[in-house]
């Protein structure tokens, strides 16, 4: 009875939270809506990053590459080919996940720091390439591509809310599945995992592609929300770093850590940006260092250690 009622209460709480989140566009002001949209976008980014890097231990410094390529494909489809957004977004995400299969197949053989560097190199190389004259007929070069998708803010909010729910659900399912266990085995000791009969290459590529699809979908929505895209904006290193900081802040390798991190960090970002615009980036760097030195397990990991939360993988 005890456990059942606890589960029941949790379910009711979840349904209530969902109802509140879904009904927010009917009463919230535009300021809170934009803030919530940003929180949800970063939740998708952070969870997507955590899904691959948090579980396999391969540091992906190419999140901006996922976002940029998918954002470009969907923006070009909307602006130049007049596709409706509902088809353009999945198309961008599909494109980046297909490219990611190929890239993952080639790059995931590289281990550790080298993988991180090669992903940075890939992002920077693509950014420069999209800005050159060679691709100008398609990407509009370095001057960027402004467009109007004509989506009301509430529709955008519901789409990103839906995506965030799906992302969290997928992460939740994966961490408590055999596939998740395989990925964590790769993180702990890849050679041992291979010896035990895990097809590590397949598992890594699958996780990489899934992560690229979710982040790419988020990136497509992000670019539509901004109504503008250019190489420096879409492939900005900040788009890679912010979700990583959020994940570390909330707790790497956990399901709800990235969600918590994205929510809290977006508020911190708002306050810092408003109060200390010039020093914002310096403080950001300082926070990054402090997290690694003094708080490596993150908020959720800390709560698990203190016994506030149970030590189970599902959280």
């Amino acid at each position: 009875m005890g456990i059942l009622s606890k589960k029941f209460l949790l379910l009711i709480g979840l349904v209530l939270l969902m109802a509140v989140l879904i009904s927010i566009p009917f009463f919230a002001t535009d300021y809170w809506m934009t803030l919530l949209v940003l929180i949800l976008i970063y939740t998708v980014y952070a969870s997507g990053w955590n899904l691959f890097s948090g579980l396999t231990g391969y540091t992906n410094f190419g999140l901006a590459w996922f976002i940029g390529v998918s954002g470009y494909v969907s923006s070009i489809l909307i602006a130049d080919y007049q596709w409706p957004w509902i088809f353009a977004w999945p198309m961008g995400a599909l494109f980046i996940s297909i490219v990611s299969i190929g890239v993952g197949y080639i790059l995931l053989r590289i281990k550790g720091v080298y993988f991180a560097i090669s992903m940075v190199a890939l992002t920077e190389g693509t950014r420069e390439l999209f800005g050159t004259g060679y691709l100008e007929p398609i990407t509009h070069g370095g001057k960027g591509l402004p467009f109007v998708a004509g989506i009301p803010l509430s529709t955008l909010y519901w789409s990103i809310l839906f995506l965030a729910f799906v992302t969290i659900f997928i992460c939740y399912k994966i961490t408590s599945s055999k596939f998740g266990l395989r990925l964590m085995a790769i993180r702990e000791d890849e050679q041992a995992a291979e010896t035990l009969g895990i097809n590590t290459t397949k598992a890594k590529i699958l996780a990489f592609t899934l992560s690229s699809f979710l982040v790419g979908l988020g990136g497509a929505i992000h670019c539509t929300y901004q109504n503008y895209i250019d190489p420096n904006y879409a492939f900005n290193i900040q788009l890679t770093l912010t979700p990583i900081v959020m994940t570390l802040f909330g707790g790497i390798g956990t399901v709800f850590g990235p969600v918590l991190g994205a929510t809290l960090f977006t508020f911190i970002h708002e306050i810092l940006w408003a109060e200390l615009t010039l020093l914002y980036m310096a403080i950001f760097g300082g926070i990054l260092m402090a997290l690694i030195l003094f708080f490596p397990q993150g908020l959720l990991g800390w709560m698990k250690e203190r016994g506030i939360l149970p030590k189970i993988r599902k959280i």
Binding site: T59, G112, Y114, A121, M289, P296
Partner: protein, 283 residues
């Protein structure tokens, strides 16, 4: 023909400077096991060091060069002792993100205090005429300074007792420890030497180019390409790699476009990591 020769020599001069930055990075990476993304920021700090001592104290940049090495060595050793030494046994991701944070912190503080103004040290101007080739004075002098630093580093690593200890730690830290080498001290010294080299490279950079807070990024991306080309922890490889990258950049800028030259480091990193991840040269 003279045009081509001049481009080639410019490339070698550029390459000697890149090699100085790359050797520091590869040394720290090989011995300490930490990828210092903030390495380029110390080049920037070195350049500003030369600028401020030149404009406020009217110090000759060559004197600042001599001063910069011990100062940056001290900064590096203290940073390592207080901070990065804790991460020697932590996962690679930790050190990577820590130094990334350090890089962001340093260049943004530099931007906050010194603003985005482009500055330069106008110490050596004019050209040398040599066998019908026109060579900028500042670049020629810089080349010989970088060469001198490189020779000093090689002599130190090859013949001095500490140098031998550093090489032993790089080859096998555990066996070195068993043989009575204080590997912890060697790691601290190496980190200091790496930062000292970056600072000295910064002073040399200030002689020939404008300096601004974000300049570190381009040096660190080239240094990464150099480390990947030369092989991790391979100092000789880094020297050759630096010269190759300098010459390639000079040729591509001259005969293709400056934009292509910017893609070059990324392209080299990707190609080498795919084809020969251990680098081009044997240790």
């Amino acid at each position: 023909m003279t045009n081509f020769l001049e481009t080639l020599i410019r490339g070698l001069m550029l390459g000697s400077l890149y090699a100085l930055v790359g050797m520091g990075l590869t040394l720290v990476w090989g011995v300490v096991g930490i990828v210092n993304i903030a390495h380029g920021e110390f080049v920037m700090l070195g350049a500003y060091f030369a600028f401020w001592t030149f404009s406020l104290l009217h110090l000759n940049p060559l004197v600042s060069l001599v001063l910069s090495v011990p100062i940056f060595f001290l900064i590096g050793s203290i940073l390592h002792k207080r901070m990065t030494e804790r991460l020697t046994h932590a996962p690679e991701l930790s050190a990577l993100i820590l130094t990334f944070g350090m890089s962001i912190l340093i260049w943004n503080l530099a931007q906050f205090f010194w603003t985005n103004t482009y500055r330069s040290v106008s110490y050596l101007t004019g050209n040398f005429l040599f066998l019908g080739l026109t060579l900028a004075k500042s670049k020629t002098i810089s080349f010989f300074l970088a060469l001198g630093m490189t020779i000093a580093l090689f002599t130190f690593l090859k013949y001095s007792k500490i140098g031998k200890g550093i090489r032993a730690t790089s080859q096998n830290s555990e066996v070195a420890l068993v043989c009575g080498i204080d590997t912890k001290k060697m790691r601290t010294l190496t980190f200091g030497i790496g930062i000292g080299l970056a600072g000295a490279a910064g002073v040399i950079v200030s002689l020939q180019w404008v300096i601004f807070p974000q300049m570190g990024g381009s040096y660190v991306s080239k240094a990464f390409a150099i480390v990947v080309l030369g092989g991790l922890g391979n100092v000789q490889g880094a020297l050759i790699g630096g010269l190759i990258i300098g010459v390639l950049e000079s040729l591509v800028t001259q005969y293709m476009s400056a934009k292509m030259a910017q893609i070059l480091p990324s392209l080299i990193i990707l190609i080498i990591l795919l084809l020969k991840p251990t680098g081009l040269f044997k240790r």
